[in-house]
């Protein structure tokens, strides 16, 4: 059996079914199309096809979710009324030789609908975070501006999509929390309160250590998206930058210049890189929070980091960010943050020592109420180095998740499954919490014991 081909993104587009209703005006429906080099006829054909598919609404009032073809999968998501996200993905195939003939076999079950729809939802929520809702944008600046924004945003965003590695964690879209002892936690709280008091323009804050959240003042929905953004885009980019800077020969000379860091380790990730250098104002992002409520708030996102602790500040949108502000912020944040970071590091080190003795079971845990996620399945949470169990088992977990939420529609239940490779996968769901374990032994008894141990 030869290698399977990869899951590739073939098309991604956004359209509005109510625009351009007349013949010859179909082009107006298309708001964004990837790959951008497709010619216009092809685009129109695709849209026409989708329109027809949507006819299926004659039978059901629910939105169309997906179309399964032999070689491709189309997924739909109606982000806002009449605005549709459509993605088409190629189905991995492998070639088999049977009786002297080569057969191409399509592994359509490798692509799970629930998983890839989540990809679309995330694409939408990320856009919404940085640009506001579609309707909001339309009201403020009109349709051409909307198209332009799509162009800008998605051309970059689509490059970050890692379809091969999508798995159950994406479905949960949860947050890794860092449990801390009371003292440290209270100190952090105190610190945040002080900052907020000193700078009344700051509306919300979030505190992270490495890539785990310690505290967040944001709504859950927003925090989810911000967290994902930080994890997948901002932090890796920053780390890479740091790495490059460190390895460059100019580094040693830069270190010796005292001007940048007077006595503390903190600096802005989103903000001016050097508070004393007025010429480069740095970058901040505008974010739109609480979009699902009546009061959408526009804020500047400022991210500041010292050692491994990061603090995200959401500053009022109307406030003009100037260097005075930056400098004050820097001087307040820097030393304290650095101190806190090293304290946490100490505690953290102590804690991991005690944890090592626990048996390392491979599990994933998710709590719907506070979006807490824990996993030992993945070596590192950005998944760049892959999971430690086979993709097949990961997909089984997705299946279990789907089953637990679809059969009987009652919340609680559990499923034990033994796969062909003799691994047991157990899924338990109770009380808004889900838990999946992978075990490579043959005894059913052992599973029961595990279940008891790990149920929190």
């Amino acid at each position: 059996m030869s290698k399977k081909s990869d899951i590739l993104l073939m098309n991604f587009f956004i359209f509005n079914s109510t625009y351009g209703p007349k013949e010859g005006e179909e082009e107006k429906k298309i708001l964004y199309f990837y790959p951008p080099a497709t010619d216009i006829d092809e685009k129109i054909k695709q849209i026409g096809h989708i329109d027809r598919v949507l006819f299926a609404r004659t039978f059901s009032d629910q939105p169309c979710e997906s179309v399964h073809n032999q070689k491709t999968r189309l997924l739909f998501y109606e982000a806002e009324p009449n605005f549709w996200f459509v993605m088409s993905v190629s189905i991995p195939y492998s070639q088999r030789v049977k009786d002297g003939q080569t057969f191409v076999e399509y592994h359509e079950e490798d692509i799970q609908d629930s998983l890839f729809r989540v990809v679309l939802q995330q694409a939408y929520s990320m856009f919404k975070l940085f640009n506001g809702t579609f309707h909001g944008l339309l009201e403020r600046s009109g349709i051409d501006s909307l198209k332009h924004r799509f162009e800008q945003f998605y051309t970059k965003y689509l490059l970050t999509l890692n379809l091969k590695h999508s798995d159950i964690l994406d479905i949960f879209d949860g947050i890794h929390f860092l449990p801390l002892d009371k003292n440290t936690y209270l100190r952090i709280q105190c610190f945040i309160n002080q900052i907020e008091a000193a700078f009344p323009q700051i509306k919300y804050t979030a505190f992270l250590y490495n890539d785990q959240v310690v505290w967040s003042g944001l709504e859950q929905e927003d925090m989810r998206v911000i967290y994902r953004y930080l994890k997948t885009t901002l932090f890796p980019a920053y780390m890479e930058q740091e790495f490059q800077v460190q390895s460059s020969p100019a580094h040693s000379s830069a270190l010796s210049s005292p001007a940048s860091n007077p006595g503390h380790y903190g600096k802005f990730i989103l903000g001016p890189p050097n508070v004393h250098d007025i010429t480069c104002p740095g970058k901040t992002h505008r974010t739109y929070l609480n979009t699902h409520t009546e009061t959408t708030e526009e804020c500047h996102l400022v991210v500041y980091r010292a050692l491994s602790a990061t603090i995200c500040l959401f500053v009022e949108g109307d406030f003009q960010l100037n260097f005075d502000f930056w400098r004050k912020l820097d001087s307040r944040l820097g030393p304290q943050l650095g101190q806190l970071a090293s304290d946490i590091a100490e505690h953290y080190a102590k804690r991991t020592n005690t944890l090592v003795s626990e048996p390392m079971f491979k599990y994933v845990y998710f709590n719907h109420m506070n979006l807490a996620t824990k996993t030992t399945l993945h070596v590192d949470s950005t998944k760049t180095s892959g999971a430690s169990i086979s993709p097949e088992l990961l997909r089984i977990i997705c299946d279990l998740n789907h089953d637990l939420s679809s059969i009987d529609s009652s919340d609680d239940g559990e499923i034990f499954v033994k796969s062909c490779g003799d691994s047991w996968v157990v899924g338990k769901k109770s009380d808004q919490r889900e838990f999946y374990v992978v075990i490579n032994q043959k005894n059913a008894n052992l599973i029961e014991i595990n279940g008891e141990c790990f149920l929190l």
Partner: protein, 559 residues
């Protein structure tokens, strides 16, 4: 065409046996071929797994479908000369059967429909041709609105449509197919757009509904389902509907018709056959045999069954008789076959459907052509169908490749009937139908077990008890059938087949277990512990082994 199960290939036998093993429990070592219900000699049915079969069908069809126009002439020409087993048998015996002349071709008088049934009153010598036609009311219907506006029509759980690849509606499960013309046109457009991109449309998911498409020679079958079937399972059902269509027309004829006229209205050839489709679809809603690709046998003492088989084997030893089948109420009593030829469970299901859907067979002996798609899709077998008892429950089918042996077979039937009466077999069969046909779970003396399905893979037979409380009502049965579908889908999924599935929900606990020898699906109460479940299952296997002579047909008698 015995297909080995993919799962079986991957596992070693030891793994299967310890599958449900608790720390201290002893699980019976079940090797392939030794499971309860495994046959002693070779099986009379082709062992198959429904999904593996389906994939092979699809591959075959795609292989045929991908033939370019230039060579399609050759393809069709090849089918004109029937090449399957029927041809073999007839050639062997020096009989020339021309498959071109069917009772159902477009005759010059233009009124002979395909489902023509020749019946004979037991007294007279003249076969009377009974034309079964549907009276079509003239087209006032075109003025009535499309069904798509009727909420009631839409609310059916499973719609099935057959349309030609040109977009003409041929069959609709609910309602009149004339009224769905626009929708059908849309479906055809969808399929052809995707085909133009070298791809093929499989299914569309809309919330709870799935639109499943199966494209075959010149036909498109569409299922719209809002129940628990998965796409695969729905495709399976559509494939059955297609086979039923082939069973009436044969594959060669279908291809030939559309070759001559692309716009041919196939309904003309199918008048009278709608009841077969409807019955089949109704059966598939609650009968697990389609899902499992297996056949259910009437629980009968081995002694009685042996006598029956012998009587048939002796008295029906006629030239060109391929199969002699005795069935009762959708269950198999015995099957006697020509050496070398096996019957596929798929075909047997179609035969059950044929008998179950027609009332006309009960009145007199009948002679009808039937095509068995898995046996040979290019030609007809001719079936002599009659009931052996007064209450019309035990049905004897004699299938021959020769068109003209009605009277010979009628003779055979009389002889067989005499002999069975002499040995009181018919009484025994009647008794079995009344009492033992549906045994209860309580017979097995296993508490906590509510219901189960057990399939023995090597014989392609399965057994299951009667539904009793809490599953005696129709909606509860639909519920439990949905659970079986769920288990089956998970255990047989192409990419991630599982060996064991144990699900604990609010209303029941389910256990699904496949090994290389058998498949078992069991339903327990929700509070059962895993220990109890595994124990029960072991006990069940022992009980089935004990009763296997009664529940399964273990021998395979031949002529």
């Amino acid at each position: 065409m015995a297909t080995a199960n993919k799962v079986a290939d991957a596992t070693t036998e030891e793994e299967d046996t310890r599958a449900g093993g608790e720390g201290n429990e002893t699980v019976p070592v079940v090797l392939q071929g030794e499971e309860p219900g495994a046959c002693r000699t070779s099986s009379m049915l082709v062992a198959s797994d429904s999904f593996v079969d389906l994939e092979l069908c699809v591959e075959e069809a795609n292989g045929r479908g991908n033939v370019s126009d230039a060579s399609s002439e050759a393809e069709v020409f090849r089918d004109r000369v029937p090449s399957g087993p029927i041809e073999e048998i007839t050639r062997l015996d020096g009989l020339t059967v021309s498959n071109d002349v069917q009772p159902s071709t477009e005759c010059s008088n233009g009124t002979t429909p395909s489902a023509e049934v020749t019946t004979e009153d037991s007294g007279s010598e003249q076969p009377v041709t009974e034309k079964v036609t549907l009276v079509r009311t003239p087209s006032l219907e075109e003025e009535e609105p499309d069904y798509t506006h009727s909420a009631e029509w839409r609310a059916h759980r499973k719609h099935v449509f057959i349309l030609s690849s040109a977009g003409k509606p041929i069959y609709s499960r609910y309602g009149d197919e004339d009224r769905i013309v626009t929708m059908v046109g849309l479906m055809q457009a969808l399929v052809s757009v995707i085909q133009s991109r070298q791809d093929s449309l499989r299914c569309i998911v809309v919330g709870q509904h799935k639109f499943v498409f199966l494209v075959r020679e010149h036909l498109i079958l569409v299922g719209v389902v809002s129940s628990h079937e998965s796409c695969q399972q729905m495709l399976l059902q559509l494939n059955y509907v297609y086979s039923q269509l082939l069973s009436v027309l044969t594959y060669s004829q279908l291809v030939r018709i559309f070759k001559h006229r692309r716009n041919y209205d196939l309904r003309r050839m199918l008048t009278g056959a709608e009841k077969f489709f409807s019955n089949l679809l109704d059966l598939m809603d609650y009968d697990p045999s389609f899902l499992l690709g297996a056949v259910r046998c009437l629980p009968l003492d081995t002694a009685v069954r042996d006598v029956v088989a012998q009587s048939i084997a002796q008295h029906a030893k006629v030239k060109d008789l391929v199969f002699a089948i005795l069935i009762a109420e959708g269950q198999l009593i015995t099957l006697v076959r020509m050496k070398k030829y096996f019957l596929h469970p798929h075909d047997l299901h179609l035969i059950f459907n044929l008998v179950g859907a027609s009332e006309s067979f009960k009145s007199a002996e009948s002679w009808t052509p039937i095509c068995l798609p898995r046996f040979d899709s290019s030609g007809y077998l001719h079936a002599h169908i009659s009931y052996l008892d007064e209450h019309c429950r035990t049905c004897l089918l004699l299938l021959s490749v020769d068109r003209d042996v009605f009277f010979t077979l009628s003779d055979c039937k009389h002889k067989i009937e005499q002999r069975l009466r002499k040995y009181n077999c018919l009484k025994a069969i009647s008794k079995a139908i009344d009492t033992e046909m549906t045994y209860c779970v309580s017979d097995t003396d296993i508490t906590e077990l509510r219901h189960f399905l057990y399939k023995s893979k090597s014989t392609a037979q399965f057994t299951c008890p009667e539904y009793e409380a809490p599953y005696s009502g129709a909606s509860e049965r639909a519920h439990i059938f949905g659970l079986y579908q769920f288990m089956h889908q998970r255990l047989h999924s192409a990419a991630r087949p599982l060996k064991i599935l144990y699900y604990v929900g609010a209303k029941e606990a389910l256990l699904g277990w496949t090994t290389s020898g058998f498949e078992l699906y069991a339903v327990f109460g929700p509070l059962v512990t895993k220990n109890t479940a595994i124990n029960s299952v072991n006990k069940l296997l022992k009980w089935i082994k004990k009763e296997e002579d009664r529940l399964f047909i273990l021998n395979s008698p031949t002529f």
